[in-house]
């Protein structure tokens, strides 16, 4: 070893390990007897038969070998005897990166199956942190970490966008439940609940926020959302960077302390819950003085305390539950979601194995941000796909946003006929709301009669029933409705008629809604045409918003009723066409 030169980064990694080792970690690095008992517990192994490089002990040995070489006497004295080997080059570090980021989701399933109690996932995370400290990491990890360091949340959502979304959701809630409806309070002091969320909710899934708001308000909760420090996710868990982990957790804890909130409620997210509720205080070295709980526990509590009423007959679809690894294997959160599901759904089907024995969704450990490993991730997802298929359910519920993305991806890849949803959506749907809309619907309708006169609206959807329904509603309010049933026809009519607005389904024969959307946005003549996506696949939101073009003006989930359809259409048309169109449509 002495004569061989070592790269600067390799030297840093070796030295860094010395600073990160604690007793638990050293025990795990020493105790493996290479019995192979953990091999079958890893989804990567099961999906790649014959390839031992996926075996947990094999992967662990890639870390263990330099631990032994530098920190354990057996490896110092007889390195070849115990397979101890140092690190010398940056290429070796790159190989190590592919193992610790690309072949393990830190799901901890092997840990729970090791007779010796070897916690590989923990020192795999430590190794990620060592590599990150010398700048060796997947591109996506670098980008997300940067966003979380600099912008304060892992999706780079700007404060004004966040606040605007909450305002818009408040408007929606008030339009639906009356002008006096409380909406979403921001930065309210001395509340019982401070609600923190995953930035994915702001960007791709705002319905989870409005559903949560509805539940808090119906429960009569004294609650608020913070204007800053609202991101409960923590990429430090995935990147192994304890400094980032501590800084992110501290940001959130400080905000709750500043608002003098009593309980920090963490929306449904496995890694967010684990980071904020459990690890964050260790990383930040901070003992907090308020309570923290998962929104799953909060919702269950509201039902048990009689603060909200639910009707399970409103959710009749067969559902199964996927346990997030972080929730189930690292936080013991597995009974409450099932209890809640049984209260809000009439057909819950257990998935096997489950709870702390469940398989990873394969999107864990930050895998969704590492596109270079997507093929092997999707291959390993076969195990989860088989599990899902065996339940016979048509919807999978999960209390984790990462799992939502991981499951959505694998469902698409393995062509399963399933959708992914969260408990907050099911609870909101099952809510029995006594005081409905403040203004009688007929009055609203009558008042709105003719409001769309002069507008040409193109309704594009492959479901003729939906087209007929939407067209009837819009025509009743004065609009001229054009109809298209596939992607090519949509583009053709859009180019020819240049409608004032296009309502667009995502899944259509021929060109998909996404392709149509992109074509319109890239067409110099059509690019400013307002588009409202109306889809039964809300989970595909990401596919639309990730395009490098202007986002759609609206995004509405099916099923949609008359009132919601009109509200969304009018919201888009008004600001866009107020000035330039008012004259021409008369």
């Amino acid at each position: 070893m002495g004569n061989k030169s070592r790269s600067y980064k390799a030297e840093k990694v070796i030295q860094g390990m010395g600073r990160k080792l604690n007793r638990q970690m050293v025990g795990s690095l020493l105790a493996c007897v290479h019995c192979g008992n953990c091999t079958d517990s890893c989804h990567y192994v099961l999906a790649n038969p014959g390839d031992p490089t996926y075996a947990p002990a094999y992967k662990a040995d890639q870390v263990r070998r330099f631990f032994k070489r530098h920190y354990d006497w057996t490896g110092r004295v007889l390195p070849w005897w115990v397979k101890a080997k140092s690190l010398y080059t940056d290429e070796e570090l790159e190989e190590l990166k592919d193992t610790v980021f690309g072949k393990c989701t830190n799901c901890r399933r092997c840990t729970l199956n090791c007779p010796m109690g070897v916690d590989y996932a923990t020192f795999n995370r430590m190794t990620r942190g060592l590599l990150v400290s010398v700048g060796i990491m997947p591109e996506g990890v670098a980008v997300v970490s940067k966003d979380q360091w600099e912008i304060g949340n892992q999706m780079g959502v700007l404060k004004e966008d966040y606040l605007e979304t909450l305002e818009w959701l408040t408007e929606e809630l008030q339009a639906e439940h009356g002008a006096d409806y409380p909406g979403i309070p921001i930065d309210k002091m001395d509340t019982d609940v401070v609600y923190s969320i995953n930035p994915r909710e702001v960007k791709y899934d705002p319905r989870t926020i409005s559903d949560a708001a509805l539940i808090f308000n119906e429960a009569g909760e004294n609650w608020t959302m913070p204007s800053e420090g609202w991101d409960m996710t923590n990429f430090g868990l995935f990147s192994g960077d304890d400094d980032l982990g501590g800084a992110v957790a501290r940001r959130l804890y400080e905000k709750v302390a500043e608002l003098r909130g009593k309980t920090l409620v963490i929306s449904e997210c496995g890694h967010g819950y684990r980071s904020t509720r459990c690890e964050g205080q260790n990383w930040a070295k901070w003992d907090i003085n308020f309570e923290m709980e998962s929104s799953v526990i909060t919702m269950l509590r509201y039902i048990k305390e009689g603060r909200i009423k639910v009707d399970k007959s409103k959710n009749t679809e067969p559902v199964t539950f996927h346990d997030s690894c972080n929730n189930a294997r690292s936080c013991g959160l597995f009974d409450e979601p099932r209890e809640l599901l049984n209260l809000v759904c009439s057909d819950f089907r257990e998935m096997y194995p489950n709870r702390s024995e469940n398989y990873c969704c394969t999107g864990g450990g930050g895998a969704m941000s590492m596109s270079e490993y997507t093929p092997q991730r999707l291959k390993s997802a076969k195990i989860k796909a088989d599990q899902l298929r065996a339940t016979g359910a048509t919807a999978v519920v999960t209390s984790c946003h990462n799992c939502v993305d991981g499951l959505t991806d694998l469902i698409k890849h393995y062509k399963l006929n399933m959708k992914v949803t969260q408990l907050v959506n099911l609870v909101a749907n099952a809510l029995v709301i006594e005081k409905e809309v403040a203004v009688p619907a007929e009055v609203v309708t009558a008042a709105a009669e003719g409001e769309l006169a002069g507008y040409r609206i193109l309704v594009a959807d492959d479901e003729p029933d939906f087209v007929t329904y939407a067209a009837t509603v819009l025509e009743d309010h004065g609009a001229v409705v054009l109809r298209a049933y596939d992607g090519d026809e949509t583009l053709e009519i859009a180019r020819r008629e240049k409608p004032h607005l296009l309502t667009l389904d995502i899944k259509m024969p021929g060109k998909s809604g996404i392709e149509v959307f992109e074509s319109i946005r890239n067409d110099p003549e059509l690019k400013t045409m307002p588009i409202c996506i109306i889809t039964g696949k809300p989970e595909l939101r990401k596919l639309i918003y990730e395009r490098a073009v202007l986002p759609p003006e609206g995004y509405v989930d099916k099923p949609i009723d008359e009132e919601r359809l009109l509200r969304n259409i009018k919201k888009i048309l008004k600001p866009v066409h107020k000035d330039e169109e008012i004259e021409s449509r008369k």
Binding site: G36, P115, S330
Partner: protein, 232 residues
């Protein structure tokens, strides 16, 4: 009894044991000099469990083959594990019985019992060697120390088996080899994977404490038998 056999049974063992104790103490001091990670968070998960329950469950895990999927679904391997480790215990005990309480071996029942346990361990040792050499997964994770430790233990079982009657009627060579091997193991163990039993209480204690605090241990599961997948 020849002087060499007497030396092998007594002086050699005592020196080897002292050496092992010294190395172990050094090893433990080294392990303990690493600070234990601290958990600041309030407990999560079921209120029925706590860190104490967690680590007791964790320690007892090895005696509960139903507790982990890996032992539950590979019960034959679990039986091999039990047999192998009982053999180790019996062969170690024998190294004290022969020099210090040889009269115990006047009991034919005890001789048969010890030979059965050690004989079974020997067979398991052979099976384990085959598994380690023949299985691609096992080969990939094995080091020279893994092969050597297993091979030597298996050979040791064979000589322990022959030494159980403590008879020199057919010569002393089997006893001499058994004691020399025992002494070698005592000196070699701290440097090899065989010292895992030294770490076991630590790893399982800390894992159990964490998992108990987080409501994961004791594991709760809904049993169903048709979910097993294996690649080995």
């Amino acid at each position: 009894m020849s002087d060499f056999l007497h030396f092998s049974e007594h002086t050699l063992q005592e020196v080897a044991l002292s050496f092992m104790a010294l190395v172990y103490i050094t090893r433990l001091i080294w392990l303990l000099h690493f600070a234990a990670g601290r958990e600041r968070q309030a407990p999560t998960g079921s209120k029925d469990t706590n860190p104490t329950k967690g680590f007791i469950y964790s320690w007892a895990n090895i005696a509960m083959p139903w507790a982990m999927e890996s032992t539950r679904t590979k019960f034959f391997l679990y039986l091999q594990f039990v047999s192998f480790h009982l053999g180790v215990t019996a062969a170690i005990a024998l190294s004290f019985v022969i020099p210090y309480a040889p009269s115990l071996l006047d009991s034919p029942a005890l001789v048969i019992l010890l030979q059965t346990i050690i004989g079974l361990a020997f067979i398991v040792g052979v099976m384990r060697i085959i598994r380690r050499v023949a299985g691609p997964y096992m080969r990939a994770i094995s080091s020279p120390d893994d092969y050597f430790s297993l091979l030597l233990l298996t050979v040791w079982f064979a000589f322990a088996f022959l030494s159980v009657p403590n008879s020199t009627a057919g010569g002393e060579w089997h006893l001499i080899i058994y004691f020399i091997l025992t002494a070698f193991f005592l000196a070699y163990v701290p440097f090899s994977k065989i010292s895992h039993y030294l770490y076991y209480p630590f790893t399982r204690y800390y894992l159990g404490k964490t998992m108990g605090r987080r409501g994961v241990y004791p594991v709760r599961r809904i049993p169903r038998s048709d979910t097993t997948r294996t690649v080995q």
